[in-house]
């Protein structure tokens, strides 16, 4: 099955610049992934052990996200 809502949500032309709601909808996931990547990139620089594990966890999220959506049916 294709992702629900994948067919898009038709909107009226007047809603094109409809405030922050749309930006939030588009950017929430990418911004979260970017933030997690940044945490992962920096944390292993700051220390070992716990910091390394945090880094592995955080940087795995973008990879897991790609795998999830790429394989989703």
């Amino acid at each position: 099955m294709t992702a629900p809502g994948a067919a898009g949500r038709p909107r009226r032309a007047g809603q094109r610049h409809g405030g922050g709601g749309e930006a939030r909808r588009v950017w929430l996931a990418p911004a979260t992934l970017a933030l997690l990547s940044l945490v992962g990139l920096v944390s292993a620089l700051l220390g070992d052990e716990v910091w390394d594990v945090l880094s592995w966890g955080a940087l795995s999220v973008p990879l897991a996200t790609i795998t999830w959506y790429a394989l989703k049916r």
Partner: protein, 397 residues
């Protein structure tokens, strides 16, 4: 976003990507084995492992080790001694005909740090890993090659930024992660390109930008030599040259005494590019993953064994040394390097799909995929390129 703005960004995205894609593919492919260079060299049988000895076996005297390295290559001198944090039981001596010989004439001698016996003369300038490294860094073209790769890296960064700008108008009517399997192959790959591209955005930007900084390493080192090093050794200018450098052991001890808790990363012998004619330049590293990369040079008078000066790196040196781990991915154990490899593969997919989309779009002009009635996804949403989005926008403006 205005249709014209989108069109401009679309052009930027297309052309910055097109110019750099071939080189970026090369960088991604050669970078993959470089992540595991240690393991690969081991598998290929390069490099001799120091024999196992009980923990706490005392260290050999550094001057004895230097003498052993020199005895292995008669007529040559030590330029540098390098401590590899991953190989605590051995030291790497860079030997060359003279202290001023260029790096291409350096031959390595690996000496056991406990017995002072020569373990190996690694052939660093040949073999698979070396080939990957040259293709990755300078395409066998020295500094111009590095700077060229740096320019390709800058284009890559610009391609990412323009891709991000185009992402918003593209995804206006699609949920995050949508992959439209029921459409053409081109649409499916477009969706995958967007998904993987935006998910790896931060990592790709960081690795791309730090890679660019690394291509400037030679220039940064030259700047440091001209600025900082020249200032530090100014009092020695005009003194007669040293007959023979004094004790290496004493020089390292003097540097470590001045910086408790730090360990030597490498020592540049008197007369080499990283020192003066009168000093052992001891480059010290800290203990944390970050400070272990930030080297602090301590100049020790090679005659008296006393510290002349120690100072931390200028901002551009810090920038170079911080950008190295962030590019190499070698600062969080094997799991981090595996993650680096997977993200590298993801980037290859983004590059490959981008190239495919460009070819596919040229083969089939955009008008042909249009259509779609009320309630169907808008034309833009099923079009493979920003050009289509821009058409839709243009139609409405």
């Amino acid at each position: 976003m205005r249709a014209r703005t989108i069109r401009v960004w679309s052009r930027i995205h297309t052309w910055t990507s097109l110019v750099c894609t071939v080189f970026l593919l090369l960088l991604c492919l050669t970078g993959l084995p470089l992540l595991f260079h240690h393991e690969i060299n081991h598998l290929l049988g390069h490099g001799v492992e120091p024999p196992a000895m009980p923990a706490g076996t005392p260290r050999a005297d550094l001057d004895r080790m230097a003498a052993a390295a020199a005895a292995r290559r008669p007529g040559e001198v030590v330029q540098y001694v390098i401590w590899d944090p991953e190989e605590p039981d051995s030291l790497y001596f860079s030997m060359a005909p003279t202290v001023a010989s260029p790096p291409t004439e350096i031959r390595g001698v690996v000496v056991d740090a406990r017995t002072a016996l020569v373990l190996d003369e690694p052939r660093d300038q040949e073999g698979f890993v070396w080939l990957m490294l040259r293709l990755h860094t300078d395409l066998f073209a020295g500094l111009p090659g590095k700077l060229f790769m740096g320019a390709m890296g800058l284009l890559f960064v610009l391609a990412i930024v323009s891709g991000v700008v185009l992402y918003a108008p593209f995804m206006r009517r699609l949920d995050f992660g949508t992959v439209r399997r029921d459409r053409s192959r081109r649409v499916r790959w477009l969706d995958l390109h967007n998904l993987i591209g935006v998910a790896t955005l931060c990592w790709a930007l960081v690795v791309g930008a730090t890679g660019v900084i690394n291509t400037w390493a030679d220039l940064i080192i030259r700047l440091w030599q001209r600025d900082e090093l020249a200032e530090m050794v100014a009092p020695y200018r005009g003194l007669p040259p040293l007959e023979r450098p004094g004790s290496l052991e004493r020089a390292v001890a003097a540097a470590q005494a001045a910086a408790p808790g730090m360990k030597p990363a490498f020592v540049a012998f008197p007369g080499t590019a990283f020192s003066s004619g009168h000093h052992h330049a001891v480059f010290l590293r800290g203990a944390t993953p970050l400070t272990s990369r930030l080297l602090t040079p301590a100049l020790v008078d090679a005659q008296t064994g006393r510290l002349t000066e120690m100072r931390s790196l200028p901002w551009y040196g810090v920038m170079l040394f911080v950008s190295q781990p962030l590019h190499f991915g070698d600062y969080g154990g094997t799991p981090l390097r595996v993650i680096w490899a997977l993200l590298d593969v993801a980037t290859i997919v983004v590059l490959g799909s981008g190239l495919y989309l460009w070819v596919a779009r040229r083969r089939r002009p955009m008008g042909m995929a249009g259509g779609g009635g009320q309630g169907e996804p808008p034309r833009g949403a099923r079009q493979p390129e920003a050009g289509a989005v821009e058409d839709r926008e243009a139609g409405r403006v």
